[in-house]
């Protein structure tokens, strides 16, 4: 391997023809992922991309890295095994709202809880695409789908809430239409040591078209989203004159210079603080009264699983210093027949 080789997005592409529907948000996301990988610079042969089942889970085939397209919901458990077995690899997990939060929900919360160093790309289109249009765990209450012809009668997960409930150390969000932001959050996820969850709101042009357009439409996006950056004021809007302030225990969107609010009242984003209370409030903003937050919302240092596992193995090995199984067995209760 050439030392310090500079990789380009092209180095992370495979020769496979991309088979997603024309207009699918996934096209932009795979491009963003390849750009992010080039930016981070881990060589393709030291990168493994693991997925479950669903439209999004086809992604590994389009990557020039090592890849494994597995079974429904199990990407997280398989990615965990890959990372535990060889911590030197950079491991990505690619998943959708059904794969990750329904059938794979258990693996998802546990990999987040373990804080294993996997970069999890969660493409959320609020629908099952590959099985042709059933409601998913993120589908809004009342939605009419093929499996809910009279509307769903259940509340959806908000992925960020699950991540915080599982004591996640990293959560970021982007929109499929914002490639630059997606590259930014994916690169940040790769730099984070631990389980990094990046939710990308993605449009399914066939079964759930425009599901995110309330926040993604060009005309309204600046007013209905806020790009959070660590250490910077939480300001947003077409004219960048709106800000997030604390009003009692609640967040509030204000116009700077109106109602007595000045720039000094606007909160500064601290993604690194261990306390997740404010992160959760920010992640719950949905674009209506408060703008939907994109960018890195939480990025906290904490012990990660693979480092701890490696450290423990080395520590115990060093203490006992057995050279082989036989040596270990002979250290126990034995007798000799002469």
């Amino acid at each position: 391997m050439e030392e310090n080789k500079k990789y380009t997005a092209q180095d992370y592409k495979s020769d496979q023809y991309v088979r997603w529907c024309p207009g699918c948000g996934d096209h932009a996301i795979v491009i963003a992922l390849q750009k992010a990988m080039a930016e981070v610079g881990v060589p393709p042969h030291q990168t493994a991309v693991i997925s479950g089942i669903g439209c999004s889970s086809r992604l590994p085939y389009y990557m020039g890295t090592y890849g494994f397209h597995t079974i429904h919901g199990r990407g997280g458990a398989i990615a965990s095994g890959v990372k535990m077995a060889n911590p030197e690899l950079t491991v990505w997990q690619v998943s959708g709202d059904g794969d990750c939060l329904a059938i794979g929900g258990n693996h998802f919360i546990h990999e987040v809880r373990r804080n294993i160093d996997i970069n999890i790309l969660l493409m959320n289109n609020k629908i099952y695409g590959l099985t042709k249009g059933q409601y998913s765990p993120t589908t809004d209450r009342g939605s009419v789908t093929k499996s809910s012809p009279y509307g769903t009668v259940e509340d959806p997960f908000i992925p960020a809430e699950l991540v915080f409930g599982a004591r996640g150390t990293f959560f970021a969000r982007s929109l499929d239409v914002e490639v630059a932001t997606t590259v930014e959050v994916l690169a940040a996820a790769a730099s984070h040591k631990g389980a990094s969850v990046c939710e990308v709101l993605q449009n399914c042009v066939i079964f759930n078209n425009n599901i995110h357009s309330y926040v993604t439409d060009k005309e309204v996006r600046a007013d209905r989203t806020i790009h959070l950056r660590h250490g910077e004021k939480m300001i947003f809007g077409k004219d960048m004159n709106r800000g997030i302030v604390l009003d009692g225990y609640m967040l509030k969107a204000v116009t700077i210079g109106e109602d007595g609010y000045t720039i000094d009242d606007v909160l500064v984003h601290d993604a690194k603080t261990p306390n997740n209370t404010l992160h959760q409030m920010l992640a719950m903003m949905d674009g209506h009264e408060l703008p939907l937050a994109i960018g890195v919302i939480r990025d906290v240092e904490a012990p990660n699983y693979t480092d701890e596992l490696t450290r423990q193995v080395e520590e115990v090995k060093g203490k006992k210093n057995f050279k082989s199984l036989r040596e270990y067995i002979l250290s126990g209760d034995t007798w000799e027949v002469k």
Binding site: F68, S80, H107, V313, S324, W335
Partner: protein, 638 residues
């Protein structure tokens, strides 16, 4: 009390089958081929420890041993109750292949133990009880209706050796400085001392083992060693005028030995394979009876660099192992029947991705949760066929506790060299049972050569599903290798390009290739050997953990001039290449298994035209040698 003990020892003399008529009274030592002892008490009474030490010292002086712990399903049932009884049976002597059908000597530390365990005593066998725990309240807890446990159970008082074990233990440790609770806890070791005397075991060796066991608590260690010696001396002094027993030793191979149970053997076999293959060992698992001890042992073996991980569920156990296999480890997952059901889809992925994976199923009674602590062989068809699609893989089975080491090693070797999942079937009986095992030298086991890609293949148009044309095994490229980046998956691949393919002819070709790869494993497995008397009309067939009982039955019959042949299968899919030829030689063939005929139906499909008679038992219990002898005798005489 002295009186009753003297009487009981008379009974010992009468009832233990001796084989040495020439022994004179004056030697006061009776020789036996083999003897079965069963220790029983409350699950907190330390019967497993007493039994383990007795087995280990017996093995150390040259007896063959086979043990079987019989735990209650409840972890800590109320003290003194029937559901809280824990037993440990050990068979010692020469020609020992099973823990024995029934016990010659039963140690019962309380009335509940006596009530539940008396069924395991041979007719006329000897019972040793702790009289201190046969008070009215104890009898009530064990649901006796009268105040005379012995009479109520219809036991001949002459069979009973009554010893005030608790009182004697207290006296022994009066000056130890220990509190009463700790003192009473040593009563199991007093009983052990007594049994050591009865069977002429070297008490000093037991003392060493106790010192080792309690190395971190020297006061407790010292107390146990004292009680042990006092128990031994008590027997010696009180019964100086009666006989003890010398149990026949076997001429075993020279070497260093240890006492090994099946689950530990399985764990060690995997470690041995990882050393031979030069690969790190990864276990992804989830707790389930009776397989959890494999996880426990491998978790402890971080000192040998093993990564054993308790995942969030059975599926994640298998999936993490598949991930580890993809990443280039020797990967395994351990479970029991219900867990194997949950892992089915993941195992299918390993079949499709053609990754090496060892799946260990320690079988227990089923279906569903079934009988978690009891043994069965009812997962065979699940192992063979329990997946969607045409999904062939290798199925092997271990036949004894020590054989678990060999079969775990062999399962790993096959998985790595043939790029396939291998299911290793053991069962609760051999997993918890133990035998003396000679620690092998490093060069006694074969090398393992995984089918890796070679660097020059990059220039030869390598694709991930390119195969060795002879073995049909695909080449293993491991993440981290430069140039070999590739994508695997559960979708069907093109045989040439390895890209996703729905082409009908290609699918047929890949189905055949995966089958051929498994069929070819037959070239790498040992041939069957005919046991017993090959020149017989009747052929007994077994597989897996029933080996000991079947072999004992067949040997017993052959020794008595009733000719029976036997073959025993460790390799089930594919079958050893000489299986059909052997089976077709015999007039009568009976397949014996602890299920309703699963292996028999599999054999019938593989070897058409043979009438496979069946002998089945599905009671959660192993066979008894006696019932097998009876059945085979009927088959011969019919």
């Amino acid at each position: 009390m002295h009186q009753s003990i003297d009487q009981s020892i008379e009974v010992v003399n009468l009832n233990l089958q001796t084989n040495s008529n020439e022994m004179t009274e004056s030697t006061k030592v009776k020789a036996l081929d083999k003897v079965v002892v069963r220790f029983s008490g409350d699950s907190g009474d330390g019967m497993q420890l007493a039994g383990n030490i007795f087995s280990a010292i017996s093995a150390a002086i040259g007896n063959e041993i086979s043990t079987f712990p019989d735990y209650p399903a409840e972890i800590r049932a109320p003290q003194g109750t029937l559901s809280g009884v824990s037993g440990f049976q050990v068979h010692i002597g020469k020609g020992v292949y099973t823990p024995g059908d029934k016990a010659d000597v039963l140690v019962a530390m309380n009335p509940a133990a006596l009530k539940t365990q008396i069924q395991f005593l041979k007719k006329g066998g000897v019972v040793i009880i702790d009289t201190d725990s046969f008070k009215e309240s104890d009898l009530k807890k064990a649901l006796y209706e009268t105040d005379d446990a012995i009479a109520e159970l219809g036991i001949d008082p002459a069979q009973v050796m009554s010893v005030a074990i608790t009182t004697l233990t207290k006296e022994s440790l009066a000056d130890s400085g220990l509190d009463v609770k700790s003192i009473v806890r040593c009563k199991n070791i007093f009983a052990l001392g007594l049994v050591c005397w009865l069977f002429d075991r070297p008490v000093s060796q037991a003392g060493h083992m106790l010192s080792h066991k309690f190395a971190k608590k020297p006061t407790i260690a010292e107390a146990n060693v004292k009680v042990l010696n006092d128990g031994y001396n008590y027997g010696n002094n009180i019964h100086a005028s009666v006989s003890t027993y010398r149990v026949e030793t076997a001429s075993v191979r020279k070497g260093i030995y240890t006492d090994l149970n099946g689950n530990t053997a399985t764990a060690w076999g995997l470690i041995a394979a990882s050393e031979k293959a030069g690969l790190p060992l990864f276990l992804g698992s989830y707790p389930i009876t009776p397989a959890t001890d494999i996880l426990h042992e491998l978790a402890k073996r971080k000192d040998l660099g093993v990564k054993a991980v308790q995942m969030e569920d059975e599926i994640a156990g298998a999936c993490s192992a598949i991930g580890a296999a993809f990443a280039g480890n020797l990967a395994a997952t351990s479970t029991s029947g219900p867990g194997l059901a949950l892992k089915s889809e993941a195992i299918g992925l390993a079949v499709m991705a053609e990754l090496p994976l060892v799946v260990i199923d320690v079988q227990r009674g089923g279906p569903s949760t079934g009988l978690p602590t009891k043994t069965e062989q009812t997962d065979l068809l699940q192992a063979l066929y329990g997946r969607n699609g045409e999904s062939p893989l290798v199925v092997v089975a271990a036949s004894t506790p020590a054989n678990c080491y060999d079969m775990a090693f062999n399962a790993a070797k096959i998985a790595l060299e043939h790029m396939t999942p291998v299911i290793l079937l053991t069962d609760g009986f051999i997993a918890n049972g133990s035998t003396a095992w000679r620690v092998p030298e490093d060069d006694e086991y074969p090398e393992i050569h995984p089918n890796y890609v070679k660097p020059e293949m990059l220039n030869e148009g390598w694709k991930p599903y390119m195969r060795n044309p002879e073995t049909m095994v695909r080449y293993w490229a491991i993440p981290g290798m430069e140039g070999f980046m590739h994508r695997l998956g559960g979708l069907e691949k093109d045989a040439k390009t390895s890209a996703i393919s729905n082409d009908p002819a290609n699918h047929a070709r890949m189905v055949a290739a995966r089958q051929a790869k498994i069929d070819n494993v037959a070239n790498d497995i040992p041939q069957l050997e005919v046991l017993g008397n090959p020149d017989s009309d009747l052929l007994v067939i077994g597989w897996g953990g029933t080996y000991g009982h079947l072999y004992s039955a067949v040997t017993d019959m052959c020794n008595k001039g009733k000719n029976v042949a036997m073959i025993h299968f460790n390799y089930i899919k594919p079958l050893p290449s000489n299986a059909e030829e052997i089976i077709r030689r015999y007039k009568k063939v009976v397949v014996c298994e602890l299920n309703n005929g699963q292996f028999a139906s599999y054999l019938a499909a593989q070897i058409p035209g043979v009438e496979f008679l069946r002998y089945n038992k599905v009671e959660g219990q192993p066979f008894s040698t006696g019932e097998l002898v009876e059945h085979f005798t009927q088959l011969i005489e019919k």
